[in-house]
Amino acid sequence: MLKLAFYGKGGIGKSTTVSNLASAFAANGLKVMQIGCDPKADSTAALHGGTRIRSILDLVRERGNDFALDEMVRIGDGGVICVEAGGPTPGLGCAGRGIIAALEKLQEKGAYEAYKPDVVLYDVLGDVVCGGFSMPMRKGYADRVFILTSGETMSIYAAANIAMAVKNFKGRGYASLGGFVLNRRNVPDEDGKAAKLAADFDTVVAGALDWSETVQRAEQLGKTVVHAFPESPMAAQYRTLADAVLSIERKGDAPC
């Protein structure tokens, strides 16, 4: 079972990228589970018509522990097993604690044993701001962390912070850094900046994605690009990224 976590600055396109990777993996015959670790609970929306699914924390709030595993998931396009951790009311409560509770609940209900996914993708909110957001990279969860960034300064700054956290936790047997994913915003010397960032952390740019209107069109349809426009150049880029991620895993240890 491949377990990959995707981090990055808010709004950088994590959910879009992760959902498209899920579609690409699924199209290759892999059984995929995508777990949204964001209180907004919209990570998997593009896999089920743009609608939101009931999050684990919604279930916990409404029914305590009195719910079954299959109520925590929804099967999306391409058979992707979709899960949303959810979180507290915005401005109240603790989002990190929500993620911890949701991931623990998934384990407690035996989600990984029951569904036996080939690939688990954790789509994690923003920066590693507290213990809750480092949970997906802990022992027993993701094996590898990929960080999305554009060439924008703030995005690179956030990506570097996350990479630093991954390095700091390495001695604990946490997930290792698989590499960066460049989600282009067409800023000057964008590829060069991403390459320098990767070099600073002794890792690679696992793949690059162009800015494309196709992504917005697919989003309006409530679908992934891979599903809505499989013949488009953008879909090809997502498939290439999926192959690159798999290739890093097959090589064994990532560069960092």
Partner: protein
């Protein structure tokens, strides 16, 4: 508008005749009161059962008060240390580091290195997402000759998942890892006092040539670790069941849950299951049953029509005990319990017919704040359990918690004898219940 709830004339909501009560939750949860008569052990008492162990509590200073007092009452202050948590620990990212460094420093300063260290983290660590596994990994690498046991003091989560009591009893056996089993050895898991040697359960085990192992009988750490090699696990307290289940899963050993009961048919069934597991023929229980009935009848002659009140700290089956006593002519008037376990359902239904006016009384309802010195204090009561004694104000009470180690038909007979003793002798109720955790070293 605020209204004084003095409990003098209206106990609505805090007590209800069993005929009108809902099962398993007869009362609405709300503002809670904690009576000074606590009854059962807390996590500190239970943890002290691990021989040659030391406890370290990492928590805010305010929370330390209770656990330190418990250790002090037990005269076991030398077996407890603590690491206080400060808000700055959250700002500078030292929350986890302080636990590792603090625990290491404590171990180095102890006059003798403990064989096991029970490390308790608290609510704040769980809220902050501390990686307890990573903390323990680091400590295990530093002190490979100490067994570190992860323990939890998280009252904010006491109503979700396992209760602190269940969790503590489960963690009590955490060092046990898979290993070859000793034939004909059986563990009694999750009790905090030995089971009477005269009980049919113990007799069955010994007569079948099996060795009984129980943490309450362990003299040293070797004795305790021998339990890891036993071939059968038994539990009979509801709070211990999760512990037995965890051992069954981790060690691959059979676990039998044979619940403490006051129903003669259920007692016989449980003992027969035990005999079967031991590979021995189940004896005819008629004599044991007749003896229990005879002793109950003798007790009834002494107790007469004195009202009997029972609380849930004395036994996890107070309703079952009430049903047994009512069926044998006792005037059971009140059961103090805030909720009932599923196993109590048959007895609950029987009592609705047998003693419909019997009152179920909450122990944590806010109105109970005044019950101990008010509406319930009537003195002429035979109480079974500390809370019943406290609320009724009686000096005649059976001083037991969690079944008191009495099990089976023999357990019923012994309890009946204890009732006679209580009916005929006064105790200084206030003195006895001042200490937490009745039955621990500090209270005997």
């Amino acid at each position: 508008m605020l209204k004084r709830i003095n409990g003098e004339d209206d106990m609505t909501g805090a007590e209800i005749p069993i005929r009108d009560a809902d099962f398993p939750l007869p009362f609405v949860s709300g503002l809670e009161y904690n009576a000074p008569a606590r009854g059962p052990w807390n996590i500190v008492h239970t943890g002290m059962l691990v021989p040659e162990s030391h406890q370290v509590f990492a928590c805010a200073q305010g929370c330390l008060r209770g656990v330190i007092l418990t250790a002090a009452e037990m005269l076991e202050m030398g077996r407890m240390s603590w690491i206080s948590v400060d808000k700055n620990d959250f700002f500078d990212g030292s929350l986890e580091r302080n636990i590792v460094d603090g625990t290491a420093e404590i171990i180095r300063k102890l006059p003798k290195k403990p064989r096991a260290l029970l490390l308790f983290i608290s609510c704040v660590h769980l809220f902050a997402g501390c990686d307890f596994d990573a903390i323990l990994d680091e400590l295990r690498a530093m002190f490979p000759d100490i067994d570190f046991i992860d323990c939890y003091m998280n009252p904010t989560m006491r109503k979700s998942g396992l209760t602190p009591d269940q969790l503590m009893r489960r963690q009590l056996y955490a060092p046990f890892q898979p290993c070859p089993a000793d034939p004909k050895t059986v563990n009694l898991i999750g009790n905090d006092r030995p089971t009477d040697g005269s009980s049919e359960l113990v007799q069955l085990i010994r007569n079948a040539g099996w060795e009984l192992r129980d943490i309450t009988l362990c003299k040293d750490y070797e004795d305790y670790m021998h339990m890891a090699k036993s071939s059968l696990e038994i539990t009979y307290l509801p709070t211990a069941k999760a512990s037995g289940d965890a051992l069954e899963k981790r060690l691959g050993r059979k676990h039998l849950y044979l619940p403490l009961s006051y129903d003669f048919d259920e007692i016989g069934r449980n003992l027969n299951i035990m005999a079967d597991a031991l590979g021995t023929a189940a004896p005819d229980w008629s004599d044991a049953k007749q003896n229990a009935v005879r002793v109950l009848e003798q007790a009834k002659e002494v107790v007469g029509d004195t009202p009997v009140e029972i609380d849930y700290t004395a036994t996890p089956r107070p309703v079952g005990l009430a049903a047994l006593l009512a069926e044998h002519g006792f005037r059971v008037t009140r059961v103090y319990t805030d909720a009932m376990i599923e196993e109590e359902r048959p007895a609950f239904e029987r009592l609705r017919t047998l003693a419909p006016d019997l009152l179920l009384t909450a122990t944590v309802h806010a109105k109970m704040r005044f019950a101990g010195k008010g509406v319930h204090e009537h003195g002429d009561v035979l109480a079974i359990g500390q809370k019943a004694a406290y609320f009724s104000g009686t000096k005649h009470f059976v001083n037991i918690v969690s079944g008191g180690g009495m099990y089976g038909f023999d357990g019923v007979a012994r309890l009946a004898k204890r009732m006679v003793e209580a009916a005929t002798h006064e105790q200084d109720t206030e003195l006895v219940i001042q200490h937490k955790g009745l039955g621990c070293r500090s209270c005997l």
